[in-house]
Every structure is written in structure tokens, then in C-alpha cells.
């Protein structure tokens, strides 16, 4: 492949091209945004692309998901997208996952990549991506659509804010493209902005959208950029608290309080006589319900929120804090297995 039109750019030299060649990028979702992002990153010379999507191609996808054709209706998007790119870019390494990103597979898949691009149409998945990327230390590029408007940002990059800092409360009211309607150029343009942010992050050039939310309106061509603040329990504290870990079996046998910092209603439910649930967002107001001298074992779904909770509680004077090895799913399974439910 001849990348000379890229490498003659003053900002994009051979070293930048090599960084891209060495990079591994995961695209979550091979729908409207994914169909725009994937071919441009592949063509630019990314070393490895991961594609995860459990969806199949539908006729209503074709007006905007331009890498798919009529004859492929009913086929799995991740497989078709992967084959499309493979046939065009011989040096590109591809990994496709014909599943949806979920709490069971997210950590294992994401840790294989240097950067993640969110091309989903689901808000809950974005909170999962945010949580797992924070725990794994991987930056991610956010993009989302509402009719003719698109949002773009970069999260968890160089200690910058995450999706939870932008939207601490999970929206009950946001609607997807299939409900709200969308034209191809809108997803195309927002996908291009995401691909461009990814290239800048990999090469270390330009100014990224980390700490900023871009909203582009394609009906008016107006762009607004908003500054995002990062919520921090102890912004002045230089040394992060590093709690130790405890196995699920030891945690159950101990006398420690099992502190669940997930949001109410998150599954699986953990039932135990020493279980207390205080969602992370409420901890700052409700920590007085906990005893400073009592040993605490904190858990959530994947470990990211419990690490934040541990840091917050340590800042408030709690010393006897441990984090559970695993998450709520493993704990609930073990409790059911041991019939240790009170």
C-alpha cells in the first residue's frame, strides 16, 4: 500500500504511519457509524481492526450502511464487514465478534485493543464501554446521533473525563435511529469525525475532543463545543488509593460488609445478610450509613465503579477497604452455590 499522500503531510510523517500500523482499534457496532468508520480506518493503514456486532443486515439499513448490499440481507454484519475489508486491504489484520458487547465479554475483548470507537445505538452499552475502558486504561471515541444532530467526544484519554462525567445519570428518554429517523450523510459525517479523532489520538497530533462535547447539526451546519468537567472526589490528592483485592470465597467467609455500588435494579441481584447497596453516585451523600471501623468489601459489575468508590471512601477516612476479585455476577453465582443466602 502506498501511503505517500498521507506521509507528505507535515503533521503525519512515516513515524505516524508506523504508529497506525502498530495500532489495534476495536469498533463496537457495525451499523451506520461503523460502516463509515471501518473503511476509512482500514484504508488509512490501521494494523488491526476488531469489529463487534451481533446484528444481521436488514433492508432498512442499506440507505446508510453503505458497505452492505441487497444480496447480503440476513447475514451477520460483523462477518460481512470483515470480509469486505479483508478483500480490499491485504495487510490489515481483522478480528470479528458476532455478538453484542455485554458485561460477560467486554473486559476480555476490550483488553486486546489500544483504542475503542463507540458506534453503537445503545446508551447502556456506552456506560459499559466507559466502565471497562476506565478499568483497562483504554481511551475511546464516542459518537451518537439524534436525527440531523450528532455528538462526538473522546473519553478516558490522558486522564480526561469519561462518559459518566458527561452524563452521570443514564438517560431514560434518548431514542435510537430506528425510532427517530436518520439520513445517511449524518451518520457518515459523525463517523468520519470519530475516525479522524482516532487517527489523531494514535499519531499524537492535533487537539482531540477529550474533555469536550461536540454537537454538529447538519440541518443548520452549526457546531457547538462544550467543556466537560471531570468529577473527582479528591482532585488535589496526588496519590491514588490502591486497595487490595479479596477472593469471593474469602469475602463471603469474612465479617466484612459487602458494599454493592451498582445502581438500584442492576442484575444480578446479590442477596446476603451483610450486603449493603449504595450506588456510586449516591455514595458521597450516603457514606455516613457506613461504619468507619467496619471492614468493607466493595463490588460492582466489572470493577471500575468499585475502584472509584474505594478511592472516594478512602478520601473520607475509611481504611479497611478491599475490592472483590470479579464482580456481582460471580458473587451472586457463588452465593447461590453455597446457599449462603440469609
Amino acid at each position: 500500500m502506498d501511503y505517500s499522500r498521507q506521509t507528505i503531510l507535515p503533521q503525519w510523517d512515516e513515524a505516524a504511519q508506523q504508529k497506525l500500523k502498530n495500532s489495534k482499534i476495536l469498533i463496537v457496532g457495525a451499523g451506520g457509524l461503523g460502516a463509515a468508520i471501518l473503511p476509512y480506518l482500514a484504508a488509512a493503514g490501521v494494523g488491526q481492526l476488531g469489529i463487534i456486532d451481533g446484528d444481521r443486515i436488514e433492508a432498512s439499513n442499506l440507505p446508510r450502511q453503505v458497505i452492505y448490499s441487497e444480496s447480503q440481507i440476513g447475514s451477520l454484519k460483523a462477518e460481512v464487514a470483515s470480509a469486505y475489508l479483508k478483500s480490499r486491504y491485504s495487510e490489515l489484520s481483522l478480528v470479528s465478534y458476532t455478538a453484542f458487547l455485554n458485561e460477560t465479554n467486554a473486559s476480555e475483548i476490550i483488553q486486546n485493543f489500544d483504542l475503542l470507537i463507540d458506534a453503537t445505538d445503545d446508551i447502556a452499552t456506552r456506560y459499559l464501554i466507559d466502565e471497562v475502558c476506565l478499568a483497562a486504561g483504554i481511551p475511546w471515541v464516542y459518537g451518537s446521533i439524534h436525527q440531523f444532530e450528532g455528538q462526538v467526544s473522546v473519553f478516558n484519554f490522558n486522564n480526561g473525563p469519561g462518559y459518566r462525567d458527561l452524563f452521570p445519570i443514564q438517560s431514560r428518554s434518548a431514542i435510537t435511529c430506528s425510532e427517530a429517523g436518520v439520513l445517511g450523510p449524518t451518520v457518515g459525517l459523525i463517523g468520519m469525525l470519530q475516525a479522524n479523532e482516532a487517527l489523531k489520538i494514535i499519531a499524537g497530533i492535533g487537539v482531540s475532543l477529550s474533555g469536550k462535547l461536540l454537537i454538529y447539526n447538519l440541518l443548520t451546519n452549526s457546531q457547538d463545543i462544550f467543556e466537560i468537567s471531570k468529577k473527582q472526589a479528591n482532585p488535589s490528592e496526588e496519590h491514588k488509593f490502591r486497595p487490595s483485592f479479596i477472593s469471593i470465597a474469602d469475602a463471603i467467609q469474612s465479617q466484612a460488609i459487602l458494599l454493592d455500588v451498582r445502581t438500584f435494579g442492576e442484575l444480578p441481584e446479590v442477596v446476603h445478610k451483610r450486603n449493603i447497596q449504595i450506588p456510586l453516585a449516591e455514595l458521597v451523600d450516603r457514606w455516613q450509613n457506613l461504619d468507619l471501623d467496619q471492614e468493607l468489601v466493595i463490588f460492582c459489575q466489572s470493577g471500575a465503579r468499585s475502584a472509584q468508590a474505594a478511592e472516594l471512601l478512602n478520601g473520607l477516612g475509611f481504611q479497611k477497604i478491599k475490592l472483590i476479585k470479579g464482580g456481582a455476577k460471580e458473587l451472586a453465582e457463588k452465593l447461590i452455590y453455597e446457599k449462603d443466602i440469609s
Binding site: D121, S144, I215, E227
Partner: protein, 78 residues
């Protein structure tokens, strides 16, 4: 007059994506509550930015007449 801009699904629920409001109250939380009621936005979740900076604690923020306030919901589509 403060300028108020509504984005995404919120813009559909108000007559115009942009309006000017007289600032009766200097407190941002109260002003947002008034606008929520005026446009029936109680069922929606959003963040508030003033002069393009997202404000985390509305209760302590004082609005001035020249400020630009933005209502920012999360988008879902992709």
C-alpha cells in the same frame, strides 16, 4: 435576556430550538426548573451548560442576563 439553546430530542419539545428568556432568578437550578415546567421536559434527562461549560452543581451557580444556557441530552442513535 439570557439565550437558551435546546439540543436533540429536547429541541423537538420546545417551539424553537433557541429562545431568549428574562432572568428573574439568579439561581441556575430555579431557572432550569422553570424552563422544564414551561416546556414539559420533566421526563427528560439532560445536562446544563452555561457559556459552553457544563455545570455540575446547578444549585450554586448564578446566571447573568448575558449568559448562554444549553440543554444537552444524551443521544442514542448510531
Amino acid at each position: 435576556m439570557a439565550k437558551v439553546k435546546y439540543f436533540g430530542i429536547l429541541a423537538e419539545n420546545v417551539d424553537q430550538a433557541q429562545e431568549e428568556v428574562k432572568v428573574d432568578s439568579e439561581n441556575l437550578e430555579e431557572l432550569v426548573a422553570q424552563l422544564k415546567e414551561k416546556h414539559s421536559l420533566e421526563a427528560y434527562d439532560f445536562q446544563i451548560a452555561v457559556n459552553r461549560k457544563i455545570i455540575l452543581d446547578l444549585s450554586v451557580f448564578k446566571v447573568r442576563d448575558s449568559d448562554e444556557i444549553a440543554f444537552l441530552p444524551a443521544f442514542a442513535g448510531g
